[in-house]
Amino acid sequence: MPDKDGGISLEEQIERWRNYLRRRQAIHPVDVAELEDHLREQVSVLVEAGLAADEAFLVAVKRMGSLDALSREFAREHSERLWKQLVVVPSDSGDPRTRPRTDAIVAFCLAVAAAVLIKVPALFGIQLDEDAGFYARNLSVFVLPLLSGYFVWKRRLRASTLRWLVAALVAAGVSANIYPFAPGGYTETLTALHLPIALWLVVGVAYAGGRWGQVGGRMDFIRFSGELFIYYVLIALGGAVLTAFMAMIFESIGIDVEPFFESWLLPCGAVGAVVVASWLVEAKQSVIENMAPVLTRLFTPFFAAVLVTFLGTLVWTGRGVGIERNVLIAFDLLLVVVLGLLLYSISARDPRSSPGAFDVVQVVLVASALLADAVALWAIAARITEFGFTPNRVAAVGENVILLVNLAWSAVLYARFLGGRGAFTDLERWQTNYLPVYAVWAAIVVLAFPPLFGYI
């Protein structure tokens, strides 16, 4: 039957119904197809009996029963579907069934390659315990190319983009190894800490696979990073339990596994797990609820409460911020945590929904973090000339400024959004546009600081 004038066609109606059904977790796409076949047959029988197409559709949908009740029945029969499974079933049944398996194989091979790679220097006499500095500087150079490789393969990255990524990785590898670092010096530590941050951008570009230019692509990368962190921590916990048992049972027969653990299990497991965790995040992104936003929601109010109390106490008691060596780093970390809380609540928020109580808490958190940081910065700035400009201090101040700028403007954008004078997407755009800034600063620390400060 053709469409009724002004109304939507039967196909569109069925399309809507199908999409509505697909949102039900307990009803898989293959069941939707089965139900759709039923619906279509019912409609055609009714149409043959003389009903108009849209009437037939309404009757057929009604006969199908309430979708809530239906999805409850499906959930009861397929309770396992509510418990997400490790082995990911492709959403559209049929030919792409082999994809996840190939994915898993590739990821596994890359993880093994990373584990092998970390042991290669040992062949040339560079031992983990004697040359800790070498391993610390190069850790990201061992792992991240393979991780990027996984995404290059998965996203079929263009050769032109690939060239840039390879160039960045080579530059990183070269700079980490040709600089004559003083062993255990400041600049070596700074390189070890900042190289992963700089190279994480390379992973991001590979991950986004041509969508790096879009807010959505970068936002996905933020989500990926958060989930990866959580998966990695979980895998590390599992590894710790495994190791504890291994040590225990081998000790009972008088064998000390510590040398094996230190030189094989820990390094190989740690680098391999990065690739495995990334694959898991990729494979399960649509299957499992994202954890980072859940944790964010849980902890944002607590952090906000702690910071507000801190500021209150500061004002009430009139104490000054103690200037110790690590106070700047502590406040850097505070800003990182607050930024993380902000980022992951942004990443999970529906930009179309209107401001709520949680957004207010978020603004309170950001504003109080800014205030606390300003107090600390003020205290430090007053005496920075006394301390002198060591590379550590300059790097820490630089990071503090970068984070401060980000959070200050975020607070402004957030306040505008709460006041109804701006869109939430402005905040998203600001955060995703800011990502390269971290990488660029990290790259400056890695490339320029060692020569500037004489490799101390």
Binding site: A33, L35, D37, H38, R40, E41, Q42, A69, L70, R76
Partner: protein, 131 residues
């Protein structure tokens, strides 16, 4: 007359298995057959058939396969397995036992307590089960 939900649920397994024992079928056709056989008295909510079919499939009583129907659409057909036939026989024995028990009771009631004629609902049941 509306048959209550518990009865519908309890009878769904033997009914579906028996219909599939007549020949392979698919969801819509099974519903139509039920409607036909019960003279419209067994009204199943269409969607609810599918969880039942999936349960029978999980238990190994039926097998499913996708085929392209004459309409050109992909359609999921169900076939009863040998385990399903065994289960059907078992269900049949159980239902016959229930039926025989009730039949005995209805008869006893109709002879000894004619007053229950005031409640014709019980008698409505009889032809359905006798048939």
């Amino acid at each position: 007359m509306e048959i209550n939900k518990d009865l519908i649920a309890a009878s769904s397994t033997p009914i579906v298995l028996a219909i599939l024992a007549e020949g392979d079928s698919y969801g819509y056709a099974i519903i139509r057959r039920v409607r036909e056989l019960s003279g419209g008295r067994m009204e199943w909510t269409d969607g609810m058939l599918y969880p039942v079919l999936h349960r029978l499939e999980r238990l190994g009583y039926v097998e499913a396969r996708w085929e392209v129907a004459k309409s050109g659409r992909r359609r999921k057909y169900y076939r009863i397995t040998s385990r399903g036939r065994a289960q059907l026989a078992e269900e049949r024995r159980q239902w016959q036992a229930v039926d025989a028990t009730l039949r005995g009771l209805w008869q006893a009631l109709s002879f000894s307590v004619p007053a229950t004629r005031r409640q014709p609902r019980h008698f409505h049941w009889e032809p359905g089960h006798a048939g």
